[in-house]
């Protein structure tokens, strides 16, 4: 994936390096010109001095010998005195291959791979030639140019750091945007703020806001549709249930069996309609309040009382194993919805003769209610999906609407509670666990 940050940074760094290279080249050129001119001037001055000495003397003066160190590394001048016929009369340092230039003035001569800058001038009956190592000059120029560029070179990592900071700050609004989008779900869908967003990102945010508005509209429509549809189903369903009840008195034998199945279907439909309404209601609500202090023992007792008929009808031994947790801080209605759904599931998915146990205890600042059954449990790969709406286990038969757990989770999320399902081995079954804040 292309990183905007990396790309921006790479480009800026490349640009910076190119600028440094160009600066180096330009300053090298400038130094070359000025240093050459300066050294040429020095040569000229020195040559004139010698010319005066020679002019006053009858014979060529003796020259102080120089050494390689001075010549090559310190830029000392090589002084040569030639006869007018081109014969070397004296030299301060031997450079065998260096000849007398035919014309007076400055020349650059290359001998055996080494360059020399020479200046030739007539002096009385002789000719004077001074020479300076061009390699030395080159080194001086390079050295000077490098020194001037070194400060820039030091700036490169420093400015890299600065660039990184600038890029980071520039991209901060994008990160903020990402966070505010990530923090949304279908219930808290809200337009993103346009203030504090860089001008360049405003069109993006605005079009995103348009999308969010349409999305919210779609969610609302869906929610209302589910609510209205479920509500409208109640009246015809009531008529069917009443008619089926009347039919019972006119039937016997096989007819009764068929009617039992019909009433079973009607009952399931009734439950589904109620659950759909509950889910639609849950979706429409904002985050729940802080709740209130509730008596968990009484709440569990009421839930068991309400589900006892179903348990007896199914041949399930529904009971309590412990009631240690006394008080918790929660929305009582929400907690009842969750607990009822979990107990209802446990009863429905446990075979006749099975057992459903309810236990409550306190655990690390929370109250915990566990509903354990002796049913088949849930395959581990399906554990994360059973909370999805209308998801039903492949072998669950005709039981359940597939939205009980979705409701439980929606209510829990809204009211600071947690619902989890855990398979247990001994005895085999499922543990459904609700964690409720104590305060």
């Amino acid at each position: 994936m292309r990183s905007l940050r990396r790309q921006l940074f790479a480009w800026l760094l490349a640009l910076y390096l190119a600028a440094a290279a160009i600066a180096m080249l330009v300053s090298y050129r400038q130094y070359a010109t000025s240093i050459n001119a300066f050294m040429d001037g020095q040569m000229h001055g020195a040559a004139l001095g010698y010319v005066q000495q020679i002019a006053a003397a009858a014979k060529p003066p003796s020259l102080k010998p120089s050494d390689t160190e001075k010549i090559q590394h310190r830029g000392s001048l090589v002084v040569q005195i030639w006869s007018s016929r081109g014969q070397l009369l004296a030299t301060s340092y031997p450079i065998p291959a260096l000849a007398l230039s035919a014309q007076a003035g400055f020349h650059t001569v290359k001998i055996d791979g080494a360059s020399w800058r020479t200046y030739t001038v007539p002096a009385a009956r002789f000719r004077l030639q001074v020479a300076q190592s061009a390699n030395f000059r080159q080194r001086v120029i390079l050295d000077s140019a490098w020194k001037s560029v070194a400060s820039i070179a030091v700036l490169i990592p420093l400015s890299g750091l600065l660039l990184w900071l600038v890029v980071h700050l520039t991209l901060r609004p994008v990160e903020r945007l990402v966070q505010s989008i990530a923090g949304q779900d279908e219930r808290t869908l809200a337009e993103l703020p346009v203030t504090r967003v860089p001008q360049e990102l405003v069109p993006l945010v605005e079009s995103m806001n348009g999308l969010i508005a349409r999305l919210r509209g779609a969610f609302d429509t869906q929610r209302h549709f589910v609510q209205d549809a479920a509500h409208e189903l109640r009246t015809p369903l009531a008529a069917c249930i009443l008619q089926a009840g009347i039919l019972r008195q006119n039937l016997d034998g096989e007819g009764i069996e068929a009617l039992d199945r019909l009433q079973g279907g009607l009952h399931r439909m009734r439950r589904l309609v109620e659950q759909l309404l509950r889910l639609a209601h849950e979706d429409a609500e904002g985050p729940g309040g802080d709740g209130a202090s509730i008596d968990l023992r009484a709440l569990i007792r009421d839930a068991v009382a309400d589900l006892m008929p179903l348990a007896e009808q199914r041949g399930i031994d529904l009971g309590i194993t412990s009631l240690e947790a006394g008080e918790a801080h929660a929305d009582a209605h929400g907690l009842r919805t969750i607990l009822d759904n979990l107990i209802d599931n446990a009863i429905r998915y446990t075979a006749s003769g099975g057992q459903v146990d309810i236990a409550s205890r306190e655990e690390g600042g929370q109250a915990v209610i566990e509903v354990s059954d002796t049913g088949p449990g849930i395959p581990s790969d399906a554990l994360s999906r059973v909370f999805d709406r209308f998801y039903r286990l492949p072998d669950s038969g005709s039981e359940g609407s597939g939205i009980g757990l979705a409701i439980a989770r929606a209510v829990a999320r809204r009211n600071r509670m947690e619902v989890a399902l855990i398979n247990r081995k001994e005895p085999r079954g499922l543990i459904a666990r609700i964690a409720i804040p104590k305060h």
Partner: protein
């Protein structure tokens, strides 16, 4: 017993009329608010079943005007509207009970009988379910119309359980009801009384709830 049904849905109306006829009620059926107002003004009915969403006026308005006119006939709201707010509104307006669609006839029938009982002044004397009642005046158990006498402790225990059929009472709660605070409690007295009651009236009369206590079944079980 003559029942007035105010309901605009043909299917539900027809089903309820049929069910009421079979249950031995005499029933009249009107389909809108105007006809409802007229029928209620006759004051010949023992109870009224009222739907809230009606043509030509709302059920709540009908209820309010009936109560304002001094009509005290028991009124039972039957509606698809649910939620605590709607229920409270209905009961505040003067309804005697509130039942959300869909429901089964057994449930409605039990509630009709309950509101009529209450209105007849039996409220203080007869409690329980359609199946099983306790006569608080005579201290007798009424089972499908058959009366049976009870010992003082049996009566106290059943009284506690049948105040709210379906709810679960613990041993401590039942002991509190059987004994006065002066008496000492013997350990298994609750079991002994329940055992005796089951022997006389059948196992189903009081049911165990493991870990919690005992209960009597509700109407809709």
């Amino acid at each position: 017993m003559r029942i007035l049904l105010i309901e605009d849905d043909e299917m539900i109306g027809a089903a309820l009329m049929e069910a009421m006829k079979r249950a031995g009620y005499v029933a009249d059926w009107v389909r809108d608010a105007t006809a409802g107002t007229a029928a209620m003004a006759d004051r010949v009915h023992t109870a009224i079943l009222l739907d809230l969403g009606l043509p030509r006026g709302s059920g709540i308005e009908l209820l309010c005007s009936a109560r304002a006119n001094g009509n005290t006939t028991p009124i039972l709201i039957i509606t698809a509207k649910d939620g605590v707010a709607a229920r409270v509104e209905g009961l505040d307006a003067g309804a005697d009970d509130y039942l959300t669609k869909p429901f089964e006839w057994r449930e409605l029938d039990a509630r009709i009988r309950a509101v009529i009982r209450r209105r007849d002044g039996h409220a203080q004397s007869l409690i329980g379910t359609g199946e099983l009642q306790l006569d608080l005046a005579t201290r007798e158990l009424v089972r499908q119309g058959v009366r049976a006498s009870l010992s003082a402790r049996e009566f106290a225990l059943l009284h506690a359980l049948m105040e709210r059929p379906g709810s679960i009472l613990s041993r401590e709660q039942l002991e509190d009801r059987i004994y006065s605070w002066r008496e000492t409690v013997s350990s298994n007295v609750v079991e002994v009384i329940i055992h005796g009651l089951r022997k006389r009236f059948g196992d189903g009369i009081i049911r165990n709830v493991r870990g919690l206590g005992w209960r009597v079944p509700r109407d809709d079980e």
